[in-house]
């Protein structure tokens, strides 16, 4: 009989080692707290839905991913840290920013990226903001050049290669002075693209340009048919730009590559027929002008991405921007250009904003609910199962330890954030887990009632209870999986933790509760059916425990006298 339950001790030790390993992993990553969702720590979540501007229903996953990258960089420019921009489903982008309450964020994220080609009228180096690393090479004269595709670039001047580390730390908007001349904020009254090349800056434009500083970025309205004053991404130069020559949507594609027989990275552009015609005439005019007016600027979101100079008219709608690119900078520029051509518009579908106070309160409420729920279940188990309550409590404690470790580790590795519905899922799972013990204990009783000895009942009862537990958990798992697939937004967390804890429940029942029961069944207290063990004959509803051949003293043999006070 001693071997019937296998080697419970060994199983328990191995299981304990696995749990210890989980905590070892936590120790290695030195992370002891789960990653909290924004509804628990406060923050803003914005859901954007992409729509095709050309009216077709499908959204290209690559376009969506590209848009995500651009939005990520926009959010990063706020410098709020720990932002997360993810795609969801086939047309959603979810932006999560902790502890930021700026309405600015919503504006920034929701706006459609605008890529435009404008003529350059003046370039001036500006003192970068004090936080920026002083740059040794002012790239004012080092503009990249544009050449017809396939030709070697006539002027391989180094370019203002975008390098991330030179980006200034974001600054709080410090109420910049408004441009001296009021500017129209809506298109319609300015210069249309076909006349844009003939536009010349007015006195007012020159004056505004002179007084413009780069920390005013964004304050100058970016209107298609109006001039624009903008800075480059490093905020080392400011540009006076004419009205839009070509819209980014006229660009069909852009790619980075190394032309044959060359070593330098270049960015290839391709325009559609409208864009090609406009580009040819614009480059033709620009090529005749004196520097710096022989450049055109690629402007994304009021930021000059690149300002290549032109040496000749470029026909055919294909162009190549060369300069001092490396693979990374060339790819980055190509991506930006592609994004400008994206036929995507974003609609702000959902904004959810939780203050840190409210978040803390929700977390507290979740924890309180968990504690109350746990206490109630444990209380009930002790009341009904008496000594076996220890099994319930220790199993629940182990399940809790594993769940906690898993959540922390998942937060670390895959960025799983525990939110309020997630906590609810865990609390509901307390019931699911405890139910496994009920199934098992009741089975043991049934077996004893059918005349089995206690130790046998623990084993045979397990074989039958096992099936039921697996079915119960399978149903629960099925629900969790379907819910996870179909769930909307934050309630996904509920499905996830419910599924997770169901899996943990199976592990705990098989590798902890069962061996523990076997071991307890071998002890005197439980195995002989002590009246507080929850396995007493009276408690099981039989007059005597079958198989306990020891002659037991009177109290246990006369159920009527037993503790009725519970």
């Amino acid at each position: 009989m001693a071997t019937r339950g296998g080697h419970p001790g060994r199983t328990l030790i191995i299981f304990g080692l696995v749990v210890a390993a989980l905590y070892g992993l936590m120790a290695i990553s030195n992370n002891w707290t789960p990653k909290l969702g924004l509804d628990l720590q406060g923050g803003t979540t914005i859901t954007l839905t992409a729509q095709n501007t050309d009216g077709t229903g499908q959204i290209d996953p690559n376009s969506l991913e590209l848009a995500r990258t651009i939005i990520q960089s926009r959010v990063d420019s706020l410098g709020v840290g720990e932002t997360e921009v993810t795609t969801s489903g086939d047309r959603q982008i979810i932006v999560s920013v902790p502890n930021v309450q700026q309405d600015e964020l919503v504006r920034l994220v929701g706006q459609t990226a605008v890529l435009r080609f404008r003529a350059v009228y003046a370039v001036e180096a500006v003192t970068p903001p004090p936080t920026a690393t002083p740059s040794a090479d002012p790239s004012g004269s080092a503009a990249p050049t544009t050449a017809p595709s396939g030709e070697a670039s006539a002027n391989p001047a180094p370019s203002a290669s975008p390098s991330g580390d030179r980006r200034p730390a974001p600054q709080l908007p410090t109420a910049p002075p408004a441009p001296t001349t009021p500017r129209p904020t809506a298109p319609g009254q300015g210069t249309p693209p076909d006349k844009a090349i003939e536009w010349q800056p007015s006195e007012a434009d020159q004056a505004d340009f002179a007084s413009f500083t780069c920390d005013q970025a964004g304050s100058f309205p970016d209107v298609a048919d109006q001039p624009l004053i903008a800075c480059d991404r490093e905020q080392t130069e400011k540009y006076l730009l004419g009205p839009t020559l070509i819209e980014g949507t006229d660009l069909t594609t852009a790619s980075a590559g190394v032309p044959q027989n060359q070593v330098q990275w270049v960015v290839n552009l391709e325009f559609n027929s409208d864009g090609a015609a406009a580009f040819e005439s614009a480059t033709g005019t620009l090529a005749t002008r004196q520097p710096p007016e022989n450049q055109f600027a690629i402007v994304l979101d009021s930021e000059v991405i690149s300002a290549p100079s032109v040496s000749a008219a470029i026909p055919g709608g294909r162009a190549e921007i060369s300069g001092n690119f490396n693979q990374q900078s060339a790819t980055e520029l190509a991506n930006i250009l592609k994004y400008g051509a994206l036929p995507l518009a974003f609609e702000v579908s959902e904004v959810s904003n939780v203050s840190a106070t409210l978040g803390g309160e929700q977390l507290r409420a979740g924890i309180i609910a968990g504690i109350i729920g746990l206490a109630l279940v444990v209380g009930f188990c002790f009341l009904y199962y008496r000594g076996l309550g220890i099994v319930v409590v220790s199993s629940l404690a182990v399940a809790g330890l594993i769940t906690y470790a898993t959540v922390v580790l998942l937060g670390d590795s895959v960025g799983f954030a525990l939110n309020l519905p997630g906590i609810a899922g865990m609390i509901v799972a307390i019931g699911v887990t405890a139910d496994s013990f009920v199934i098992y204990f009741e089975r043991i009783r049934d077996e004893v009632r059918d005349g089995r000895s206690l130790r046998t009942a623990i084993e045979t009862g397990w074989i039958r209870a096992r099936q039921t537990i697996l079915i119960a958990d399978a149903v629960s798992m099925l629900s969790a999986i379907i819910l996870f697939i179909l769930a909307i937004g934050s309630v996904k967390g509920f499905a996830f933790t419910l599924g997770l804890t169901t899996l943990i429940d199976v592990a705990v029942v098989f590798f902890f509760t069962k061996p523990l029961m076997t071991m307890l069944g071998r002890t005197r207290f439980f195995g002989q059916g002590h009246k507080w063990s929850g396995l007493s004959p009276d408690h099981l509803g039989v007059t005597a425990l079958p198989g306990t051949r020891t002659r037991r003293p009177a109290p246990t043999a006369t159920p009527a006298t037993e503790s009725e006070g519970i």
Binding site: Q101, R364, L383, A434, D450, G451, F494, V542, P559, S563
Partner: protein
Amino acid sequence: MSRLSQFGHKLYTGEVSYNFIGNRRRWYIVSAILIAVSILSIGIRGLDWGIEFEGGADFQVQAAVTDATVEEFTDAVNNAGVADLGEVTVTTVGNDQVRVQTRSLEPVDEVPLVRSAIAEEAGVPTEQVAYSLIGASWGGQITDRALIALGVFLLLVTLVIWAYFRNWKMSVAALIALLHDLVLTIGVYALVGFTVTPATVIGVLTILGYSLYDTVVVFDKVRENVRDLTSSTRQTYSEAANLAVNQVLVRSINTTIIGVLPVAALLFTGAFILGEGPLKDLALALFVGMISGAYSSIFIATPLLAQLKEREPEMQKLTKRVLARRAKTDARTSAAGTATPVDATPYDPPIESADDATDEPSSPDTPARPRITVTSSQPAIVNRPGRPTSEGASGRPQPQHKPRSQRKR
């Protein structure tokens, strides 16, 4: 508690037996009334759909609540400078929270206006005003999504039931119980007047799983009890099913209590500490659904199953055989001169024993005869041939080895 254990034991052996199946009309009527109330409350009160489904803006702020709060905040929001604001709903939660709901606002232009107006009224920094905003078309998408989820879930659950039971009668009974739980849960939701949010939908979908699981447990036992039913004449299908229900009763109650306790804790904290949010929405749906699921698997699903099964010619024959045998036994008992067989039987079920176990059409007209004989005198061993049955001290009837003609009863 040990009394309860004893009780559980008696239920298991059949010493105490509640006649769930025989009294099915009573339970059908109870459920019919509950469902009628649910449908009425859904129809009349309607469901309070959250802004997640209809689109809208919801602002929450901490502020001391007085009698004038609602009016003050309504005025403040109306004067925030947003055109066509439409109806503004201001509610107070507890005594320190104010909630303002409006139509869906423009995130860039309109939200800051309303937000700062609320912040000013509450006397807190703008950052302290939490808000969520759902675009109108997005709300529509979420509604579609929820309906799709419900449809897919019902379909899958039906498939699982079908695959698990492999018996259309069990499937039908389980499905009806499922729909019963669904209607009841939504009805209670309408009655209580909680807002329907995505968390509610999740809760409702989860209880479909629970309800199914409850039914699986009971039907499993029924299946076990009826395995060799037709080869003997001891029990009718209804009686075997009824015994199964009685046997799993304690387990069902325990399971439900243990499942409901944490949910009750959620409901309590959700409703009284937080006031708003996913906790209470989820918890209410789960709370009602779990209780209803346990109820329906015992009081609705099993009687329905028995009813469907008793229609089969095979089962009708069995019922006839069983009754004929009982009539014979009874006749012999009367012949033996025992005037009151009930009193003479030490294993007379003390509770509800007089309930008429069979309103079956084939029931012979012997109304006065107590129907206890079979279910009560040879209960647990009926379907367990080969199990030890000889604990002299177990307090149960023992197999008698005397020929029937020599028994004195």
